[in-house]
């Protein structure tokens, strides 16, 4: 899947490339926004999706999805499913998909590799729920690497679910949310109940967890410098 956002001569964002194949379709839902639509059940174990996002200087792009992604295991010994997002950002990119629900026995790997040019801004939010109601949790591993001019700003991998080495009782939450934001100004440390915000060069990263997704979302909001609505406003 690929989306390119460009700034035209009058300073407005156009989307000269919006294309997808396989398990994802992509729909233009605004002058500078797209929604991802799953064309099939899943992702399923063994699925492999790559999303390329290019936001050129002066352009804005906001990427959403229409519904939660429910990750299901393949039959038998299920291999992991992969989603790799590669972003090149000289403008402003907001990534705000709906939650990922990882069902029992499923193992999902999500990677975000973002390269920011000077002046590039990125806000990426991730919401994860392990298991549907009354179900055993699945496994989720998320890696985020953001570079500016080739220099790493943040590079972290979080592993959740049974068997993940840092997911051990008494702190083994079913719900996890995280926002990484760079380019909008550095924010200092903030702490809350099961929530922490840390500074990044020119930005911040916030993380929260809990038993339920709505708890984790509320906790992340408690340490986030701006309400999420305002972030949406920025990219409109």
């Amino acid at each position: 899947m690929e989306v390119v956002a460009r700034c035209d001569a009058r300073g407005r964002t156009t989307l000269p490339i919006v294309r997808a194949s396989g398990q994802l379709a992509v729909r233009r839902t605004g002058a500078a926004s797209v929604h991802l639509v799953a064309t099939a059940f899943g992702p399923l174990g063994g699925d492999d999706v790559e999303i390329r996002l290019v936001v050129e200087a002066g352009a804005r792009l906001s990427v959403h999805s229409v519904a939660a992604a429910v990750v299901l295991p393949a039959r038998g010994e299920s291999p992991p499913s992969w989603q790799l997002v590669r972003a090149e950002v000289a403008g402003v990119l907001q990534l705000a998909p709906e939650p990922t629900v990882v069902t029992a026995r499923a193992d999902h790997r999500a990677e975000l590799h973002a390269q920011l040019a000077d002046g590039g801004e990125l806000t990426a939010t991730e919401q994860v729920l392990l298991g549907r109601v009354g179900e055993e949790p699945g496994r989720w591993t998320g890696t985020t690497r953001v570079e500016r001019d080739g220099r790493p700003l943040v590079h972290t991998t979080v592993g959740l679910g049974p068997g993940a080495p840092a997911w051990l009782p008494p702190v083994a939450p079913r719900a996890y949310v995280s926002t990484v934001s760079t380019g909008g100004g550095q924010r200092e440390v903030a702490t809350g109940v099961d929530a922490v915000r840390l500074p990044l060069p020119g930005g911040w990263v916030g993380t929260a967890w809990g038993d339920e997704l709505h708890d984790a979302v509320t906790r992340l909001a408690s340490v986030s410098p701006r309400p999420v609505d305002e972030l949406a406003e920025v990219t409109r």
Binding site: T143, R145, P152, T156, V158, P169, V171, V189, V196
Partner: protein
């Protein structure tokens, strides 16, 4: 295995590690660490995240000593360490221990590579350079880093909870296969495993003014 590796991993090496609890002091305050069972869980968690990251960086720093441009190579690794350690409290703890190790290591194993390190380097970088200048391999550096990621915190737990030293030694020793596994898996790579719980505990701890340990 050489005596240099034992020296590097020895808690009596005066590099300042004894003033850091690796999150243990705050984990006790938060109620997630109270007895030998929860200590083992906490150490396993730490080993798999900050231990793996430290092992990868230490091995890479050991290799960087032989790089054509060790200043650039170690500078790039210091940036990778920062990127893997967004918590200011954890960064400060790592750099304090790095500085302490440079002080003793550069006297113990004099070598031009010490001058190639950035000022106040992250601890795993200093450890990697110490390993290289002590005649050890990148894999040795990874093993020292992985072991140190749990040995200091285990001792801190013993002191803070007045735990039986033999029990704590047994908990640590039983983790040896996992220490080796993490070190071997990290020695050729730069893992980025992180534990948001440890970030939160580190920042809560840094904000306290009634703490015994620096981290």
């Amino acid at each position: 295995m050489t005596a240099a590796l034992l020296t590097l991993a020895d808690s009596r090496l005066p590099a300042g590690g004894h003033t850091h609890s690796g999150g243990v002091e705050q984990a006790i305050a938060a109620g997630v660490l109270a007895d030998p069972g929860s200590l083992a869980v906490f150490l396993r968690r730490r080993l798999a995240t900050s231990g793996a990251v430290a092992a990868g960086l230490a091995a890479a720093a050991c290799r960087a000593v032989d790089d054509a441009d060790p200043v650039a190579a170690l500078g790039a690794l210091d940036a990778e360490a920062d990127a893997r350690t967004p918590s200011p409290a954890l960064r400060a703890a790592s750099r304090q221990q790095g500085r302490g190790l440079v002080r003793v290591g550069s006297r113990a194993w004099p070598h031009p590579a010490w001058a190639a390190l950035p000022a106040q380097p992250h601890h795993p970088l200093a450890l990697g350079v110490a390993a290289a200048t002590g005649g050890l391999t990148p894999r040795d550096a990874a093993h020292a880093a992985a072991y140190l990621s749990i040995s200091g915190p285990a001792t801190a737990a013993q002191r803070l909870l007045a735990m039986d030293p033999i029990t704590v030694a047994a908990v640590t020793a039983r983790l040896a296969p996992e220490v080796d596994e993490v070190a071997d898996a990290s020695a050729e790579d730069l893992p980025a495993a992180t534990d948001p719980l440890l970030d939160l505990l580190a920042e809560l701890h840094a904000a306290r003014n009634d703490r015994f340990f620096a981290s």
